[in-house]
Symmetry: C2
Subunit: 178 residues, 2 copies
DNA sequence: ATTTACGTAAAATATTTATTGTACGAAGTT
DNA sequence: AACTTCGTACAATAAATATTTTACGTAAAT
């Protein structure tokens, strides 16, 4: 209570960084990724691995791992500054963009994985329907599976459209930024 | 290759269930939750803990835990069937609805957590701006923090609107089901 | 040409999360 | 009333993830 104003601001900034970390958690990224994002964000300018290590109290190796993960997720980028030897990392300053980056990179991953499955499954289904002698019960089962496959593919098409809807910024036309 | 048609269908059904599990993973739920969802889905009717235990090869205790998690997430429900003593569990059969349930329950959790933070932070900020003697540097810092707080609150308002946009089904007006 | 600082791979450790086993109360059955 | 069966709390164990330590190749500084 009787703290220095500057100290209190520092405390609030830390709380803020923590909150950002917490928010990140909802995207399924590890706590430390969230923390680092919050720290760089609050620092208001790019940071080196050593600075991050200092700020988190974690090893430099860990910072290296975390920062790589963030770059992969499109929520951080390496910044080149001439004359400076150490790598600098910066984060997206726009919350909405961060949301979109994480959302799209997660779902794109799932969509791509699914592509292979799609091919395999429909090939198998085609084959089985053309080759085999078919009794009634079998036919019913096959038809059910066919129907479900169709629904599944449609669902993934929808997901792909949804990702595009976010990535293009179209979402903001219908859910505008306050 | 020389398998029975019925056996091959079983294999495909299993692959399908697996794929559903995989998809679930993108939402940040545990693998087993995904598996159970896929199994019940493919079973096409509600299942008991014992049946699930049998189907997954896992303990009944684990099934109990998983099913509870699913109910909390709104992707499964307990079904009462008179005359039957065991609890039966069913899952949402509509992929889109499952997507929405998971999306909204995740973000709602985050939004609620944030509510408390909001109050605390803005109270602190108000206090510090009214009580303290202010020099120029301090004032600049405070203003920056105020601005960031505002942005953060706006962002969360947006998230809340987004959740509503999904939950109400409005999303389908703009990204229609194929 | 040596030395120093950097980032990260790879292996080792610590922490967290998932899973099982035991036990027990509540409710149904005999 | 004694006996089963059910679901789950709670403690123990196993598996997966996060984190650190050590080591090493590469590039800048001396």
């Amino acid at each position: 209570m009787d703290e220095q104003p500057l100290g209190r601001i520092k405390v609030m900034e830390d709380q803020f960084a923590e909150k950002i970390a917490d928010n990140m958690h909802t995207y399924g990224v590890s706590t430390t990724v969230g923390r680092v994002l919050g720290i760089i964000y609050m620092n208001r300018k790019p940071m080196t691995l050593d600075e991050l290590s200092e700020a988190t109290g974690m090893s430099k190796t860990r910072m290296s791992q975390v920062v790589r993960e963030m770059v992969d997720l499109n929520i951080a980028e390496k910044v080149l500054q001439k004359g400076v030897r150490k790598d600098l990392y910066n984060v997206e300053q726009d919350y909405y963009q961060t949301f979109i980056s994480l959302f799209t990179s997660n779902w794109r991953k799932a969509i791509n994985k699914n592509k292979m499955f799609e091919k395999k499954l429909s090939a198998e289904l085609k084959e089985i329907t053309s080759n085999e002698p078919i009794d009634e019960e079998l036919e019913a089962k096959i038809n059910l599976l066919l129907k479900e496959t169709k629904e599944w593919l449609d669902y993934y098409q929808w997901l792909a459209n949804l990702v595009e809807f976010f990535e293009s910024g179209e979402i903001f036309k219908h859910v505008p930024k306050p």
